[in-house]
């Protein structure tokens, strides 16, 4: 069935799945970079002792964590351009796939950044208070305490939840089908609707998702092992 020609002309069904896989990977990868950078920064800010900085971080997390992902996707794609004329004119002129891609990356990146920020905060706060005090006693300034003492330990602790978050991000990217991005789930549905072989189409998509998630899992497990410090609580998975 996957070797049949699709009604779009010139392509076979398996090629549709491959192009869907490409979009899924591209969205996930870009969103993950945004999520990790922003999430780390905001999670760190939330543990500093400056009240207003903490409050900004808290607001960020609550904003992106409390709105359903599906709603956020609609807000980025349909609502945001209505308020920014420059963005609107770009969206009209640009290739529709680019506008969908950008919306999906921003939406998933910011949503996941809130979740990662929460994990980073938990990781830092799980360290004994003495670590921070010891760093300051050595004469390190606050950024240096974070850079050399707190963050290296905190990140090692939170690698397992970060792995889950990475896998979640990949699976959440399927929400982008609601704004028309032709990613993997979109293609599986499309093939099902053209051929009425829903079972085969979604079986194939399921296997591909499992494969990507497993690959992400293995990579993260490798990172966890490589960065493990002997004798420290979060030693790598065996």
């Amino acid at each position: 069935m996957f070797l049949q020609d699709a009604p779009e002309g010139g392509v076979q069904y398996w090629e549709l799945l491959v192009s869907g896989l490409g979009w899924t990977l591209a969205v996930s990868a870009c969103a993950w970079v945004i999520a990790l950078l922003l999430g780390s920064a905001i999670g760190t800010l939330r543990t500093t002792h400056r009240a207003w900085v903490t409050r900004v971080g808290n607001a960020w997390v609550e904003l992106f964590r409390n709105i359903p992902l599906l709603v956020q996707m609609f807000l980025w794609y349909f609502v945001a351009p209505e308020f920014v004329p420059a963005l609107k004119s770009w969206v009209i002129a640009a290739d529709p796939a680019h506008a969908q891609f950008l919306s999906a990356v921003l939406c998933l990146g910011l949503f996941t950044s809130a979740r990662i920020a929460e994990q980073v905060r938990a990781g830092i706060q799980s360290l004994p208070q003495g670590q921070r005090l010891a760093g300051m006693a050595l004469g390190l300034r606050e950024p240096q305490v974070y850079r050399y003492v707190l963050l290296p330990m905190a990140f090692r602790i939170i690698i397992p939840p970060l792995t889950s978050e990475t896998m979640n991000l990949i699976k959440n990217s399927s929400i982008a089908l609601t704004i028309g991005l032709a990613e993997l789930t979109f293609r599986a549905r499309e093939i099902g609707e053209y051929t009425f072989h829903f079972f085969e189409a979604f079986s194939a998509a399921t296997l591909i998702y499992v494969a990507i998630a497993m690959a992400a899992n293995r990579v993260m497990a490798l990172v966890e092992r490589r960065t493990a410090v002997p004798g420290y609580i979060a030693h790598g998975a065996k």
Binding site: P7, P81, F186, E190
Partner: protein
């Protein structure tokens, strides 16, 4: 001995009754026979196929197709001399309408069912009462007058509909290059057009008219008078039931020939309809006029 004699007379009575029924059954068969015996007819209706068959604010099914079905019900009453005929209303969906027709739950379906050759293998159809065109809605201000003007433009369409492959075929044969955006439902595809994100929305014309009628500024939009494909809508009946089908064909055909259909059409497509008083504003197309002039049950 006496017992045997009594049961013998019962047997004679039963046989007589059976012969009487059999004599009547020679005249009636299929759905009409069932209706005569049960004193009731069951109509399958849709819940949101506006304006064909949908529920009003009192949860009663109304619509263009319902009006035509009621004409058939009147004809059944006259034919069977059953003025007290009971009409049961059974909501159906696009997924269960054919199985419910086949298993006898409903006797006829009044909705927005496309009469296709594929479906004719499983059910029968009455005369075509509506013909949709797959075409495009555009903004008047865009200056687009024909599908060919969509070259190098972006269009929206709803994923999972037959419009998508039709559009692809059109692009290929006419060497027109368009970019598609897929909405997950009709409302979303229309929103993309309303926000000027796309130049056109490609879909069934009556669905486009429904979206336009419900939009903030219905006057801003126009439906292109072209067609990627036509699909006839008609009443669904049970297969291999010539007696009932003949009655339906005769009744609906008469409504069409007499011109009464124009009034029923105008009521639902050219005037405000319940529950919100929206006007579909959808004049009779040449294809629909042709179907009224020559009632037929040809499928696509």
């Amino acid at each position: 001995m006496r017992q045997i004699r009594i049961s013998g007379s019962i047997l004679v009575a039963a046989l007589a009754a059976a012969f009487a029924l059999a004599a009547q059954a020679q005249e009636l068969a299929g759905t009409l026979k069932k209706v005569k015996e049960t004193g009731a007819i069951t109509i399958g209706h849709r819940e949101s196929s506006i304006p064909f068959s949908y529920l009003d604010d009192k949860q009663q099914p109304i619509g263009y197709a319902m009006d035509l079905c009621m004409k058939v019900v009147e004809a059944v009453k006259a034919e069977l001399k059953l003025p007290a005929l009971k009409v049961n209303l059974q909501p159906v969906t696009s997924a269960n309408r054919i199985p419910l027709m086949q298993n006898g739950t409903i006797d006829m379906e009044c909705g927005s069912t496309t009469n296709s050759v594929e479906r004719q293998k499983q059910v029968a159809f009455g005369p075509t009462y509506f013909v949709i065109n797959v075409t495009a809605a555009v903004k008047k201000s865009s200056g687009i007058k024909a599908l060919a003007d969509l070259n190098n433009k972006t269009v929206s369409t709803t994923s999972g509909t037959t419009s998508v492959p039709l559009l692809k075929v059109y692009e290929k044969t006419r060497h027109v290059d368009v970019k598609e955006i897929y909405g997950k439902d009709h409302a979303e595809s229309f929103l993309l057009l309303a926000q000027d994100r796309t130049a056109a929305f490609v879909m069934d014309d009556i669905l486009l008219a429904g979206q336009i009628a419900n939009s903030a500024a219905p006057g801003d939009y126009v439906i292109l008078p072209e067609s990627l494909r036509q699909e006839p809508y008609s009443m669904m009946l049970r297969k291999d039931d010539p007696q009932f089908k003949a009655l339906v064909d005769r009744t609906v055909g008469a409504v069409m020939k007499s011109g009464e259909i124009e009034k029923i059409y105008a009521k639902w497509f050219l005037n405000p309809i319940p529950p919100k008083g929206v006007n579909m504003n959808f004049p009779i197309t040449p294809q629909i006029r042709e179907a009224f002039a020559n009632p037929n049950d040809k499928g696509v």
